[in-house]
Symmetry: C2
Subunit: 394 residues, 2 copies
């Protein structure tokens, strides 16, 4: 018998696994070019050529004991300094190496932050629709999730509901902008309003509420839209970043945490995160990849195909009658289903060779997610199917 906490997840995993095998199975059955698989959020663009050059050069020419050896749990000092300087230059902040912890992807970073800051029973605010894994990360540490229901108009934040749901047990809030699954980008006004509410509640209850901004999609933002840097608006803010989507390196597990000096108990928090990195089994972010991202700092894969796909899809789908909040970023779109049952709708979509994901998986039934991190030709070829699908319900 596996552990009790894992037993529930084991029971549910076969359903999830089947769902994500759908695209593969259909491709085998009907031919890959005849299936429009929009289910997985896996980058579809190669890393910039500087990445492979950096890997090879480091491997062949830099001292091996240092390249592959242990370093402090927070990461190489020079890598952390390079990351800090890049953030300062780009966002107008004032960080140094001590504010940066290199992590095993964004997922590793968020787990480290939760381990370091929440106690069993602490409440963690989530904004629906949200990436379902947040539930599991919170459960890892016996936190209690408190979900703010969706703002269907803009997929921003239901601020009135947020304010009502903050209690003396609120400890942590996770936001994700640009957002999976909606593609929404919170505006500066949104962030200012959020910060005001959290600040007021911190004072009212005499507590610290840590605002965690999960930002793997920061660079996938359209039309030059600004993605506000959270730490400039709220002092108990932490940024979690990953190179998975911006440099197309999801398998390599490399990202970082930004922990501002003005955070409550900054010194102890940094030590806690360093120790947590070690005792949770990460020990440190992979050494070679730390040096690679430092070398390639500020670069990204050629991200414009995501915007091109968005343009094609959004125009067509809205013409066909789908209701959809236009994404400001990411490679996700979150249209409303023409029927209330999103699972039934996504099952029907397979008849038209479309593989899409029900919004229920993101705590937002009645909607569906399209991951358009695919070739443009797949997007173009899928349009007819999307039309037939909505016409089926007319």
């Amino acid at each position: 018998m596996v552990s009790d906490k894992m037993a529930k997840l084991v029971a549910g995993s076969s359903i999830i696994r089947a769902m994500f095998q759908d695209g593969k199975i259909m491709a085998e059955k009907y031919g890959k070019e005849n299936v429009y698989d929009f289910s997985l959020g896996n980058p579809s663009i190669v890393p910039p050529p500087t990445v492979k050059e950096a890997i090879a050069d480091l491997a062949l020419n830099s001292p091996e004991m240092e390249l592959h050896g242990y370093m402090s749990n927070e990461g190489y000092d020079d890598v952390r300094q390079t990351v800090a300087e890049y953030i300062n230059k780009t966002y107008g902040t004032d960080y140094s190496a001590k504010n940066i912890i290199m992590t095993v992807g964004a997922a590793g970073g968020l787990n480290v932050a939760l381990k370091s800051l929440i106690n069993p029973g602490d409440e963690v605010l989530l904004v629906a629709p949200y990436f379902g894994e947040y539930d599991n990360y919170i459960a890892n540490f016996d936190g209690v999730k408190v979900v703010i229901s969706p703002d269907y108009e803009r997929f921003s934040i239901n601020f009135e509901e947020l304010e009502k749901k903050i209690t003396p047990k609120t400890r942590f809030m996770i936001i994700n902008s640009p957002n999976n699954p909606t593609g929404a980008v919170y505006s500066e006004e949104d962030i200012i309003r959020l910060a005001e509410i959290l600040d007021r509640k911190q004072k009212e209850y005499g507590i610290s509420i840590f605002l965690f901004s999960d930002e793997p999609y920061r660079e996938i933002a359209f039309n030059g839209i600004e993605v506000p840097y959270i730490t400039k608006y709220y002092s108990n803010a932490i940024v979690g970043y990953s190179y998975s989507k911006s440099l197309s390196l999801p398998g390599e597990r490399i990202g970082y945490l930004v922990v501002p000096t003005e955070l409550d108990d900054f010194e102890d928090t940094i030590v806690a995160m360093s120790v947590a990195t070690r005792i949770m089994g990460f020990v440190n972010a992979p050494s070679l990849m730390q040096k690679v991202v430092a070398r390639c700092i500020g670069q990204t894969s050629d991200l414009k195909v995501y915007e091109e796909n968005k343009e094609i899809l959004y125009k067509a789908l809205t013409e066909y009658g789908y209701e959809c909040v236009e994404p400001g970023g990411t490679f996700y779109m979150f249209p409303k289903c023409p029927i209330p049952d999103d699972k039934e709708f996504c099952a029907k979509a397979k008849d038209f060779r479309l593989v899409i994901v029900p919004g229920s998986g993101f705590s937002c039934p009645g909607y569906f997610r399209i991951a358009f991190c695919v070739d443009k030709s797949t997007v173009v070829n899928s349009l007819d199917s999307f039309k037939k699908l909505i016409d089926f319900y007319k």
Copy 2:
């Protein structure tokens, strides 16, 4: 305020950090060549040249989306198959890909196994002296550690005490052979006896007791001594392996778990470990490094310097009057202190420019650990200091 669990570790961390900075600080003060730093278990030998060649070739010539992309949480199928075939060929087992989960080092693997298998309150048996991090891994999941006191004669296992300390709440046991900190290698007789006890107790209490063999030092074994493959002796055995010490890649975070098909609830356990890998934030072992270790399967760094260092140290120290169980493997030696207070002894050692670690840190006061993963010249030059140190107490 950091989380309660982390607060204690934060308080203690400055002491540990200071201890591991000792060597650096003394080197700066007296000159590196005048300090004999035996405190850190960091490999001192470069990886075989095939590693850098594999990294460069994979980076420059293999399809990038597959090389750096997500794969199943258990790892690439072909890498798992390669690892399974290597284990079969070397140890006479009969595994396939499904028995292997690639992990973020041995630390990641052990955390995944504990997350998957233990509930809060479950007892986890440990054999002193042991690697102190096991305490933290167990605490991560609210397990209860039960320590078997040291077998001072051979640093094997106190079997009578073990038998007494198994209860209906015993769920997991961690062994580490070749052993950090003692260098001991359990014999086949030891393993057979251990398996017999555990098997008998499983039946007596109607429970499963998972025997986890933490094996990063498997290849650092001297005089051709055989390191028994645990899974051949006990069916609820799991092996945790890492390439950190054998391929000198500790910073890269790459290892694997071996989960035999005969394990109780094998299917559910594999699923649990796969899901745990994902939700704990590892997601998967680093992709490039998975492929590197597959390419370099069966190779190691040139490990003979560790045995040479052992020979020099053991001969000299026993001549000087130190009592010491001769290591069968690893780059560690665990002599008895000439005085009962190991912390006082290690503090005095610094007067002779020796940096060594008190056995208290391994739940074995009165002893000290020497990590001889250093240049041979450091070992040779240190001998006089070891002599002066023990003479001080005569």
